[in-house]
Every structure is written in structure tokens, then in C-alpha cells.
């Protein structure tokens, strides 16, 4: 074990939401095929800094460990991504881990993604099927359309697109690309489309669609390869039509 290769890890830590961040450096023994989560797990077991100082274990969020839940997102070497699918062999050293700055930090790398879930509620990102009686079957969805819509449904609300967007920050109320793309998904669904005007009106309100400045970082950063900018451009067209409908149209807002 004399020649044990060590990894240099630098972590931006923060004790609570309001306290100021600080950096700590760690050394972690290298094993083949490590991901960032396993690096963090080692630090949790051995919370000692490079200087030999005993410190508290680093806090972070994780759940599925296969890049489908979005919980373990953080900024790794300057890039927002999931720490479960970030492999150490593909990263340069020192490993720099930071929380995603767009969201309030709970502790260390743990962040509060509530603003995204609030946005999903605001844009009604669901298909309403509840009734006081059996509503029966909905309209059929063409298979090719379903296959295409499946790509949009891969969104895991991880927040990477919000972190990469220059227009999502503390000075703006922009909800970001993810909830917008969900509007496109649910407006595509044959049953969901029955409320498409409500979703469009929601994204034509405060913090909605118009805040996009087309820097197109989101589509480059999305770990699921969701065509976010195409969704936004498509919603722009739908919103243009809806805008004229709302002003000039009669009472048929949906059709």
C-alpha cells in the first residue's frame, strides 16, 4: 500500500443557509472506477482535512445513484452535473466540488430545489384526470408522438439547466428551462392538451417564458439531452398564438 495513489479533493462547504462558505481540502485513496459519490463517502468515513484537522462529515444529497433522480447534482470542476455519474477517471485533479449556486444551500453540497417544484405547480405540470364520475378513456396518443414525448419526460428536475442559465439568478424570477419544457410535454399529451391555455397563460406570467435570453447553455448542460431550447422556441410560437387568441379571439381559448 506504499504506492497508494491519492486524489486531491477540494470542497466548498457551508454550515447553514445563512453562513458564509469556506473551502476544505481532502486526500482520498484512489480506487479504479470511482465516482464522485464514492469519494464523498470516503470523506464521510474519514472527515480529516489535508492539514490533519478533524472536521464534520460533508453533507450532500443522493438517492438513485443511476442518474434518474437528480438529487445528487452539484458543480464538479466548474460544471453542474450529477455526482453519481461523474467518474473520477474522467475528471482532472484537484476535484473541485461546489453546491449549485442558483439554489439556497442547506448545508455543504446539499441544496434546496423547492423553487423548481413550485414552478411545476405554477405551470400545472400534470394531466388532470380527476372527476366526480368516471371520465372514461382519454383520446389515443399516436405512438410516434409518444416516443418523441418520452424524451421530454426524462426530465428529473435536477436543476442543472437552471444552474447553467445566466438569466436564472437571485435578481430575476425566471423559472428556468426545465418547467417550461414540461409545459410542452403536458400540452402535447392528448388529455393534457385540454388545459393547454392554462399552462400557456401561466408561463406568460411573472418569471415565465419571456425571460429566456437564448444563451442556450441549458441544452448543452442537460444530462438527459432534452431539447430544451427547441421546447422554448416551440412554446414561443404557442404563446404568440395564445396571445392573439386571448386578445382577439372569442371564448374558445383551447381550440
Amino acid at each position: 500500500m506504499a504506492d497508494q495513489k491519492m486524489l486531491d479533493v477540494e470542497i466548498q462547504r457551508q454550515d447553514s443557509t445563512d453562513s458564509s462558505p469556506y473551502w476544505e481540502k481532502f486526500k482520498v485513496p484512489y480506487r479504479p472506477n470511482m465516482n464522485v459519490i464514492s469519494v464523498l463517502m470516503f470523506i464521510r468515513e474519514h472527515p480529516t482535512t489535508v492539514e490533519g484537522k478533524e472536521t464534520s462529515p460533508v453533507a450532500w444529497d443522493m438517492n438513485c445513484l443511476e442518474e434518474v433522480c437528480g438529487a445528487c447534482s452539484m458543480v464538479i470542476n466548474g460544471r453542474p452535473r450529477q455526482s453519481c455519474s461523474a467518474l473520477v477517471d474522467q475528471l482532472t485533479q484537484p476535484l473541485k466540488l461546489q453546491p449549485m449556486s442558483t439554489f439556497p444551500v442547506i448545508r455543504d453540497l446539499q441544496i434546496d430545489r423547492s423553487r423548481m417544484f413550485d414552478s411545476l405547480k405554477k405551470v400545472k405540470a400534470w394531466v388532470p384526470i380527476d372527476g366526480s364520475y368516471d371520465l372514461g378513456e382519454g383520446p389515443r396518443m399516436p405512438e410516434r408522438k409518444r416516443e418523441w414525448a418520452y424524451e421530454l419526460s426524462k426530465c428529473m428536475t435536477c436543476g442543472v439547466c437552471l444552474e447553467s442559465c445566466p438569466n436564472v439568478n437571485s435578481g430575476s424570477s425566471f423559472m428556468g428551462p426545465a418547467p417550461l419544457s414540461q409545459v410542452r410535454l403536458f400540452n402535447t399529451h392528448p388529455t393534457g392538451a385540454m388545459n393547454k391555455d392554462e399552462r400557456l397563460d401561466a408561463i406568460m406570467g411573472d418569471g415565465g417564458l419571456a425571460n429566456c435570453g437564448n444563451s442556450q447553455n441549458c441544452v448543452a448542460a442537460c444530462p438527459k439531452g432534452i431539447p430544451l431550447t427547441t421546447s422554448i422556441a416551440s412554446l414561443n410560437r404557442a404563446a404568440t398564438v395564445q396571445m392573439f387568441k386571448n386578445f382577439f379571439g372569442s371564448d374558445h381559448m383551447v381550440d
Partner: protein, 203 residues
């Protein structure tokens, strides 16, 4: 200002940037270009513009009001962005930042330009002719400032056409957006050549 009206203000901002402000810029650059045919040609072209009936009303409705809305709301938009070029050095992210940077430059440049030209006519009744502009760009610093201003304007308009087409939902697919990027950059180069050759004709 209610944030609920944001959508309509942004759409208005996008629309006014092209019509009438963008169209006016093109007409303006073309009139300037007549200076390459000599002093008399420019004075004739500029005189033609000044002979438009109801000129003060046309100036306010077609130029000043749309331009001021576009400028002041644009400054607000520019300052709500948080640049992250270091993390994402893509072409589109650069254009995003350049659009905001040129916008800020243009607010300063156009204010100065109007003060040096149109405002002097209001104050002192100065003739807006070839000699006035030749005086303005007689120092190398002022000439450089004008060239920066002109290139900022042509970039801001060309890239603005691209984002206009997206904001109104006309181009959606990544391919159409990419092709439009090339087309608008050709427009940028052509307008810049016209603009810079025109200003050099005054030196």
C-alpha cells in the same frame, strides 16, 4: 411595473427592436453611405430625409419613443443576467453576452451621437450636413468611438434578428436556428462594411 406584464413588455421590446428601430438603422446607414459619392451626394440624401412631412411627429413616433423604450428596458434586461462565460464558452453564450454588451455600448453611443448632431440643431440651429459630421470625426478618438458604435449597432441588429425569430416562434429546430445564425452573421458583415465605409467617407 407589474411583473405580470413582463411577457408583453418583452415581446414589445423584441418587436420594436426590429420595427421600427432596426429598419431605421438600415435606412440611416444607407443614407450615410451616400457620403462615399462625395459631400454633395450626402447633403442631398440627408436633405431628402429632412424633407419628410410632419418630420417632428415622424421622428418621435418612428425613432425616439421606440428607441427609448428599447434602450431603457434593454438595460434592465441586460443587468438581470449573470454572465457565466467561464463555465460555458459556447458561441451562443458569447453572442448572448455580446448582445447585452453592445446594447449598453449603444445606449451611451447613441445618446452621445444624438447630442452631437440632432440636438445641436435644436439648440443652435446647426445644419445637419457633411461638414458637421466631418468635424465630429476629425479626431482619431472620436472616429474610433464611432466605428465601435457602428459595429455594435450592426451586431446588435443582426443577432437581434436571430433572437426576434426565436422569440416569436418562427424558427424552432436546432438546424433552422443554426442556419439563421449564419445568415444573420452575413447580414452583420455586410451592414458593418456599409457603416464603416460611410463613416470613413467623412474623414
Amino acid at each position: 411595473m407589474s411583473k405580470d406584464r413582463e411577457f408583453y413588455l418583452r415581446r414589445l421590446h423584441s418587436f420594436l427592436g426590429l420595427i421600427p428601430v432596426g429598419l431605421f438603422l438600415i435606412v440611416h446607414l444607407l443614407v450615410n453611405y451616400s457620403a462615399t459619392n462625395g459631400e454633395a451626394a450626402f447633403n442631398k440624401a440627408a436633405g431628402l430625409m429632412e424633407s419628410i412631412p410632419f418630420l417632428p411627429i415622424v421622428e418621435w413616433v418612428v425613432i425616439y419613443i421606440p428607441l427609448m423604450f428599447h434602450a431603457f428596458y434593454g438595460v434592465y434586461i441586460a443587468f438581470t443576467a449573470k454572465p457565466n462565460l467561464k463555465r460555458f464558452g459556447t458561441t451562443r453564450n458569447w453572442f448572448f453576452m455580446l448582445q447585452r454588451l453592445t446594447g449598453i455600448i449603444l445606449v451611451i453611443f447613441i445618446a452621445w451621437h444624438i447630442f452631437q448632431t440632432r440636438f445641436q440643431k435644436t439648440l443652435h440651429g446647426t445644419e445637419l450636413d457633411y461638414n458637421l459630421m466631418a468635424d465630429v470625426v476629425s479626431t482619431p478618438w472620436m472616429l474610433a468611438f464611432y466605428i465601435v458604435g457602428i459595429i455594435s449597432a450592426t451586431f446588435h441588429l443582426s443577432n437581434g434578428i436571430w433572437s426576434f425569430l426565436i422569440s416569436w416562434g418562427l424558427i424552432q429546430s436546432p438546424k433552422s436556428q443554426k442556419v439563421t445564425t449564419y445568415i444573420t452573421m452575413i447580414i452583420f458583415v455586410l451592414l458593418s462594411v456599409v457603416g464603416v465605409m460611410a463613416i470613413l467617407a467623412f474623414t
